[in-house]
């Protein structure tokens, strides 16, 4: 992309800080959206040499100490969080036979919770850097919808050259799908919705029995380890959630019924027909990682609406944004762009920003580190030259743990 180098760098001192990652940083914003606190006009955010936010306040309250690298932007937000993605497992090239960058679905068996996103995530995937350039600093990623149980998700920072560097938390949720995307043709199971639910119940019951055997086993006669069932005992014990991809209202109902039966922590994924059963979802206290606003309205998602975020939130449902997975282009959606569409159709800028930051942080259990601009949290910031949601605004800088990781206006 030869011409990009001709765009003048909007950030003073960018080159300096790119080469000295651990410098102390001061970010000045005409508007600083802390998300958990009030918006600060002419705000200052200081990040210490460990990459942790050490001060937040107005320019009158927070002085910039000597030696800090100073950056300025019209709008500063927390680094954005993509609540559910397959990026890093999904690569940009597509074409399983040619390019080997499509690791989001293992087709050898319909039930494989033993697969971990940690073992499949490629931090050097160009799409990861692409998302980062728009201000997305954290992704909850993993195996895609499309098998009954496709794998275990993980939370990554959109930086680092190894998984070890990128990883925030492994084994966040077990990803499962309860709709025709996970159904097989011919004599293979599951071939119907009813069979899919039956198989899922059977597997959870097995896991329950497996846990019973472990609990009853004597110390000198341990039960042989079963990685598949271990992953599901974690779900039953509440160690990780079951992230269930459903779109039709009847499948949402099935998901709620399963959660009632087994008492696991249910996160609904996608939920195109969520507005039809919003009150039931709200009553169950189950959060929704809502499908991208621009997801194609076809197949199971044929009744998707760009007003769904507003309708669900108004009904009392906790809504997180996400980029989702569709199998075709765009190979990854930019969750900021998706949130903008919802923001403009009843959801509003404030709720949309929360659904990109603190809401997924809390749901994913990482709000001690990310999701708002607060002292003690990671120095993850996104800088914009205007309203972050506006089509023609640019992300002009991105910090992850105090390091400037993107500075070309995007």
């Amino acid at each position: 992309m030869r011409f990009l180098t001709t765009i003048p760098c909007a950030i003073i001192g960018a080159a300096l800080v790119l080469s000295t990652a651990s410098a102390q940083v001061a970010v000045l914003g005409e508007r600083v959206h802390t998300v958990t606190g009030p918006i600060i006009e002419n705000g200052v955010v200081l990040i210490d040499s460990d990459g942790v936010i050490e001060a937040v306040g107005s320019a009158a309250q927070v002085a910039v100490p000597d030696g800090y690298a100073v950056f300025e932007a019209a709008v500063v937000t927390p680094g954005l969080i993509d609540g559910r993605s397959t990026v890093g497992l999904t690569g940009m090239l597509n074409g399983e036979d040619q390019t080997h960058d499509q690791d989001m679905l293992e087709r050898s068996s319909p039930i494989q919770p033993e697969l971990s996103a940690v073992d499949a995530y490629n931090p050097l995937e160009p799409l990861v850097a692409y998302l980062r350039s728009f201000g997305i600093t954290t992704v909850h990623t993993g195996h895609a919808p499309g098998e009954l149980i496709s794998g275990r998700t993980a939370i990554m920072k959109t930086t680092g050259t190894t998984v070890r560097e990128a990883l925030v938390r492994a084994d966040v949720a077990v990803a499962a799908t309860l709709d025709p995307r996970a159904l097989k043709s011919g004599a293979k199971a599951p071939g119907t919705r009813g069979k899919a639910v039956a198989m899922l119940r059977q597997q959870l019951i097995k896991a329950h029995e497996y846990q019973g055997k472990i609990d009853a086993a004597e110390d000198d006669k341990p039960v042989a380890r079963d990685l598949r069932l271990e992953a599901l005992t974690g779900v039953l014990a509440g160690e990780h959630a079951l992230l269930l991809t459903v779109d039709r209202a009847q499948d949402i109902d099935s998901a709620l019924r399963l959660a009632d039966e087994f008492g696991f922590e249910l996160w609904l994924d996608s939920c195109a027909e969520g507005p039809l059963v919003a009150d039931r979802i709200a009553a169950a206290g189950v959060p929704v990682f809502l499908h991208p606003a621009m997801a194609r309205p076809w197949g199971e998602m044929r009744n998707a609406s760009m007003r769904s975020a507003a309708v669900l939130a108004d009904a009392g449902v906790t809504v997180s944004m996400q980029s989702g997975y569709e199998g075709y282009v765009p190979k990854v959606r930019v969750v900021l762009f998706e949130a903008a569409i919802y923001a403009s159709r009843g959801f509003g800028r404030e709720r949309a920003l929360e659904a990109l930051t603190i809401t997924p942080a809390r749901l994913l259990g990482v709000d001690d580190r990310v999701g708002s601009i607060e002292v003690g949290k990671d120095g993850d910031l996104a800088l914009y030259d205007g309203d972050p949601f506006e089509y023609t605004s640019h992300c002009v800088g991105v910090f992850i743990e105090g390091e400037l990781v993107s500075s070309d206006p995007r």
Binding site: M1, F3, L4, I7, G91, M92, L93, N94, G95, Q98, T99, P126, L127, Y130, L131, E273, P275, L276, M294, R296, P297, W298, R302, N303, A304, S305, M306, R307, S308, Y328, V329, P330, K331, V332, R333, V334, F337, A340, I341, A343, S344, R345, D387, F389, E390, Y391, T392, S393, H394
Partner: protein, 454 residues
């Protein structure tokens, strides 16, 4: 907005009545983006009998006109989409790689909900194209979304016709990986070199066919047997039918231009992921002359996708392409490729082009007049000028702003989409039933159903 609807509600007649045919309609106090002329603040647009009869800031409103106060609103031409796949279409089948005799026209379902979504996005003119899985998948059709009275009963009602009454359309061609089928079944190419060879071979046949017809003159007995595929290629070589060519990689783009030179056809380059690599070459290309006697050039109809990739040859598809081509001096339109991108958000893609360096003016032209020219329709659509078709959209604000809504879409002087109508709003925003194709209502069989005891 409210003011407009207050007036409009009082004036509108029930759907199905041809209001605009009998009475002029005037939209006053609007910001009018004419595209080819200055943008007018507080301007007036007058339409009558399906055409624009006046546009400007000193326009006298005809005394018999229905007047709509559009204060606070923006009016721009109906959007022109040079590349769409809506309508449940299918043209060429798997029996061979080059099928220019097949018409997409014969496969369109006019009740497809996709047309309503396109109107919701402000689209009024479409080039409906078959796919890119063939070197040539068939003839495209230029369509107007004449939807004021609901879905047309026949696709004939949406086809655009030229002065002679002939249906207007182009020819879809493709190169690169989509039209390659490893193994070469049914004559499909396995490589790029073979792709170009097969195209060249077929065009040579078309030249022979054309020459045989010319030699036959008035002697009918010497005419070659009619071949619909070769006929289409002859139309292409004569300049009557434009080639709409799917192409991504820089070298594939140059291959298209080489073939266009060799066989003298007018081409529009579609998608052009790597056009930014060869922008200067594209801008400098002259090719054959267009209908106006000027060099046709190598106009580019680009797509903007929210992230790059999907296949190797689109890995360099970037949002910056429009701006780079503009700066190089190339002609640029933007298309939806619906269902690759969503017609409802067509304006958004122009905004993304601006985000990535294209000028506002060029981006708005890319949604309108540039596309019109690429369909040989710039004398009829693509700008707000007296004498052109009364195709326009009423917007709640700036066309490139997130919160702006398409409030109404007018086609040939008739209201074809109205966001204040509950059914139309469903198509604009989605929800239960929005993607279902429109079913006919069997009004007159109710008594039979009741009588049957159901």
């Amino acid at each position: 907005m409210l003011r407009l609807f207050a007036v409009v509600a009082a004036c509108f007649v029930p759907a199905g009545t041809s209001l605009a045919q009998s009475t002029p309609a005037a939209f006053t106090n609007a910001r009018i983006i004419t595209i080819t002329g200055d943008t007018i603040d507080g301007g007036t647009l007058v339409v009558h009998d399906g055409e624009i009869v006046a546009v400007g800031d000193g326009v006298v409103v005809p005394s018999d006109a229905d007047v709509y106060d559009a204060a606070g609103l923006t009016i721009m031409p109906g959007l022109v989409d040079t590349h769409s796949h809506i309508g449940g279409i299918g043209a060429a089948d798997g029996s061979g790689p080059i099928q220019p005799g097949v018409r997409v026209f014969d496969s369109i379902n006019p009740r497809s909900s996709g047309f309503k979504r396109a109107l919701a996005g402000g689209l009024t003119t479409l080039n409906i194209m078959p796919g890119s899985g063939h070197l040539s998948s068939g003839q495209t059709v230029y369509a107007k979304l004449r939807w004021a009275e609901g879905p047309p009963t026949s696709v004939d009602d949406i086809a655009v016709r030229d002065d002679s009454g002939a249906m207007m359309g182009g020819l879809k061609m493709a190169n690169g990986t989509n039209s390659i089928r490893t193994g070469g079944a049914n004559g499909f190419p396995g490589t790029r070199g073979k792709s170009a060879y097969l195209v060249r071979e077929r065009f040579l046949k078309a030249q022979e066919y054309r020459d045989a017809i010319e030699r036959a003159g008035d002697d009918v007995s010497k005419l070659p047997a009619r071949d619909l595929g070769l006929e289409a290629l002859v139309e292409v070589m004569s300049g009557a039918r434009i080639v709409h060519h799917h192409t991504h990689r820089a070298d594939d783009i140059m291959t298209v231009l080489r073939l266009a030179d060799e066989f003298g056809f007018r081409v529009v380059l579609h998608h052009v992921s790597e056009a930014w690599v060869v922008a200067d070459e594209i801008a400098a290309y002259e090719g054959v002359d267009g209908p106006d006697g000027e060099p046709w050039g190598a106009p580019c109809s680009i797509i903007l996708i929210d992230s790059p990739g999907g296949k190797l040859e689109a890995a360099s598809l970037i949002l910056e392409t429009g701006g780079v081509l503009e700066k190089a001096g190339a002609q640029v339109a933007i298309h939806t490729d619906d269902w690759i991108t969503d017609s409802r958000l067509f304006l958004r893609y122009a905004a993304l082009a601006v985000r990535a360096g294209m000028s506002r003016e060029a981006a708005l032209r890319a949604l309108t007049i540039e596309g019109a020219r690429m369909l040989d329709m710039s004398d009829r659509v693509g700008s707000l000028e007296v004498g052109k078709d009364a195709d326009f959209v009423l917007l709640s604000g700036d066309p490139l702003a997130l919160d702006t809504r398409v409030l109404q879409t007018w086609v040939e002087g008739e209201l074809a989409f109205d966001l204040s109508d509950e059914d139309d709003r469903l198509y604009a925003e989605g929800g239960l039933g929005a993607a279902h194709d429109i079913q006919p209502y069997f009004c007159c069989y109710d008594h039979l159903i009741q009588g049957s005891g159901h």
